[in-house]
Symmetry: C2
Subunit: 338 residues, 2 copies
């Protein structure tokens, strides 16, 4: 039985998360019971939602338990099987956590899914053709439901969700404007991802300045917004919405570290007759096949080649995660484990 | 031609509206052109939305123009007609404004509608069987769309919209909890309107205290909220929402007077996967017949007898309106003109 390095949540953050909240331990993997498989992880996904679960607060998901392996999505290979459902050598995507190996009860619905790495490289199943991509798809298709020619805005545009949102929205004939941090990311968003414009929030430090930049980038106003961030960016975008604009809200990363970030002027929801809807993509499993088919085709055809930030080795996970929370990643943040 | 007393908007408020913003003038009604009718108003409706239009701010409706008659709903009687559509003696509901008479181009769609005062008294067409009632109906039926047994909350519960919301929600088998100002209004909401509970916001001066009171009144959490007020009440209700709760937002009276009131914790929209939707009932004319039919039946059968605050004489309109903005009315605020 191989030795398995794993990161556990050692303490809950007070304010910003820090490296001291995590502890590395090593243990041999357990022997397989009937119906179980042993998966060796190739990539671990790091995602902003993980920060929310580090708090002991009421939320849609139970908090990450203290003293247990950090939860997270993984892709890998079955290296031992006592299940008729999976064979040794199968490539799989699952929820193996911040560790090198996981033992999985393979018959549980949804815990492990076979994937094909012939046309789509394995790591994309944690990004564009995985949870972040489906998140973008749901917000765009099921909440914003844009008509061709409408103007849509997405924050964190160079990230895993934002970049998929842009590709899906362009395929529907929309004008797509991104918001990202820094000139390099903004160049990437327009030049490589094909957005119509991108606003660097670092040169617009408050909602008023950002609102002016949005006015220039969205001359016909904003019809749909995919909210990833919260705070001043959310305020600025709302100030430029058209009547009957739709807002899909699936992350408020700016507020994870402590005090809630207020929304400055909720009266705009009435004034512009907005619809704002929060969602968690794991509660909408019915749409995953349709979303993954479109995303797989976009990536498989080479039309959409999202960037990845890949940290090396299980030891690097906490620092890579803290960097993600501070916007230091560039594209989907992964940890490569082998 | 009768002399017509009318209130004009003399100046825009800075901060709270005051009596000095209005000026009374008197002018003979103009002679009728072909197709016009002269309506003598019996009742003038006073509604919170009028405060919003006194500001010169971007909103869904154009601002009330300075120097012109204050806009507002009226019921009355046709006393002269040069239109084949209306006869002298017809009772009508329209949008005659803060004055004793109005001259109306009767062929314009939607400006004037004949009403039957045999089963429903005239004044109710400005309240329960008029715009406020339809507003409650739209928010309840089209946005909140409750299932029997769900818990719904409405602010300004003793007012025209809130009381209709309660009657419609009880008819659908919901638990309905009101929020109102003062013990007398709360007693009325539970004892006369039949709400299951009512919270007096005056004894709960902040969101935290209000949130505790809501916890007690809504032991199963809140599934739907009809937002009339904004501010601390909105914050407190959001803190008690269940997953997938719906919020219909049609007024934020607490913010009309000046600085926007922030929403303290918009992350709750994500955490509880809320849907928040702003609406203006005049943009949904297609649902008015269905809504008015249900509301007319509730009122006509005597099941729903909403209370009215009736000021006497056109001269009293500004003071009655300012009282409404401060919550001094008790039920639908009207001005009786004859």
């Amino acid at each position: 039985m191989p030795m398995n390095k794993q990161w556990i949540l050692a303490s809950r953050p007070e304010g910003a998360a820090s490296a001291g909240n995590f502890a590395l331990r090593s243990a041999p993997t357990s022997a397989l019971a009937d119906g179980q498989v042993l998966v060796r992880h190739h990539y671990l996904s790091l995602d902003p939602y993980m920060r929310g679960r580090m708090n002991d607060a009421k939320s849609y998901a139970a908090p990450q338990p203290l003293g247990q392996v950090m939860q997270g999505g993984t892709v890998g290979e079955v290296i031992e099987s006592r299940s008729p459902l999976f064979s040794v050598g199968d490539k799989v995507v699952g929820y193996g956590g911040w560790q090198q190996y996981s033992v999985v009860d393979a018959a549980q619905p949804g815990v492990l899914r076979k994937i094909d790495d012939a046309h789509v490289s394995l790591s994309y199943y944690l990004g564009a053709v995985g949870m972040p991509g489906v998140t973008a798809w749901y917000g765009l298709v099921k909440i914003i439901a844009p008509r061709s020619g409408e103007t849509l805005v997405v924050s964190a545009a160079s990230g895993a969700v934002g970049s998929a949102f842009g590709a899906l929205a362009k395929a529907r004939g929309c004008r797509v404007v991104g918001i990202a941090g820094g000139a390099e990311k903004c160049r990437y968003v327009t030049d490589k991802l094909g957005f119509d414009a991108c606003i660097d929030y670092r040169v617009h430090p408050d909602a008023k300045s950002l609102s002016q930049a949005l006015k220039a980038a969205c001359p016909d106003g904003i019809d749909g917004y995919f909210e990833n961030v919260g705070g001043a960016i959310f305020d600025a975008v709302l100030s430029r919405t058209n009547a009957f604009a739709r807002v899909a809200l699936c992350g408020m990363i700016a507020g994870y570290d402590g005090a809630p970030l207020p929304l400055a002027n909720p009266a705009l929801i009435l004034i512009n007759r907005l619809r704002i809807e929060g969602f968690i993509v794991s509660e909408h499993m019915d749409i995953w096949p349709e979303a993954l088919e479109e995303l797989g085709a976009l990536v498989g055809s080479g039309k959409f080649r999202p960037r990845e930030s890949v940290a090396q080795g299980i030891e690097s996970a906490p620092e890579a995660f803290l960097g993600l929370l501070r916007g230091r990643n560039f594209g989907k943040q992964l940890v490569q484990l082998i």
